[in-house]
Symmetry: C2
Subunit: 126 residues, 2 copies
Amino acid sequence: MKDDRFCNSNCPFTRAIGTIGNKWKPIIINVLGTRTMRFGQLDAIVPHISRKVLSEQLKELEEDGLLERLAYKELPPRVDYKLSEKGLAFLPILENIKEWNLKYEVATIPKETDYKWSKLPQDGLS
Amino acid sequence: MKDDRFCNSNCPFTRAIGTIGNKWKPIIINVLGTRTMRFGQLDAIVPHISRKVLSEQLKELEEDGLLERLAYKELPPRVDYKLSEKGLAFLPILENIKEWNLKYEVATIPKETDYKWSKLPQDGLS
DNA sequence: ATTTGTAGTTACCTACTAGTAACCAGAATA
DNA sequence: TATTCTGGTTACTAGTAGGTAACTACAAAT
């Protein structure tokens, strides 16, 4: 996202939306959870994301202090991603969103085709 | 947004992000809060939004059951928007996001120019 | 007769986002 | 010697989001 009108707003809520208000970041934060994961794992588990977009989002999340990037000086390279304290503090909010959705969403029957999109059963997200 | 890959996902969390995971919807929901507002008021208070995008977002929010649209048969037209039960239930989550941001955000000094973007002091958002 | 007010819609255009495929380093393995 | 492994980056392209300006309806006010 990186919309300066949001990120530089004088309203703290607007700024918050500027940093986490897109579709990928909440998903990435949720997938990471309390685990440490490598780039390739994230790429395999986050559904439909391309490596390009994943690396962009991870970079922004790191800049905004939501996660920590640990690069080992090895070959082939190894990089671990884990949530920072700030990122971990965001997890309960995501839990609330899940509960809110389960409570109020009108039930829909997932189509067959949905499963093609999942790299893991149930998207590995919930 | 309306990304079918998100909205039709078999993961409830992914679906939730599909409906509210963009930059405008949390802002609109927050601005509405417990009040009833007319289209023109929303347009005046939500910073930087165009009428076109506002009406698109309002339509999607209505479709997703987050708000109710009350059109009076008058001329000139009058339309009231208010949050539904589902929308109201989302407000505490937005409160949590505000608190989370205030607690963890690295302090930044708002620039002079920020105030030009605000149609109300402090954006009227917080 | 003209202007004002409201809640949009429409057409057009631009700017950003996201996807794809190819490519990189350099050690370990076959 | 060629391939594999990993975590990206780059160039190119397609698609989408969003902005602007003009336009609508019709009553009431000027």
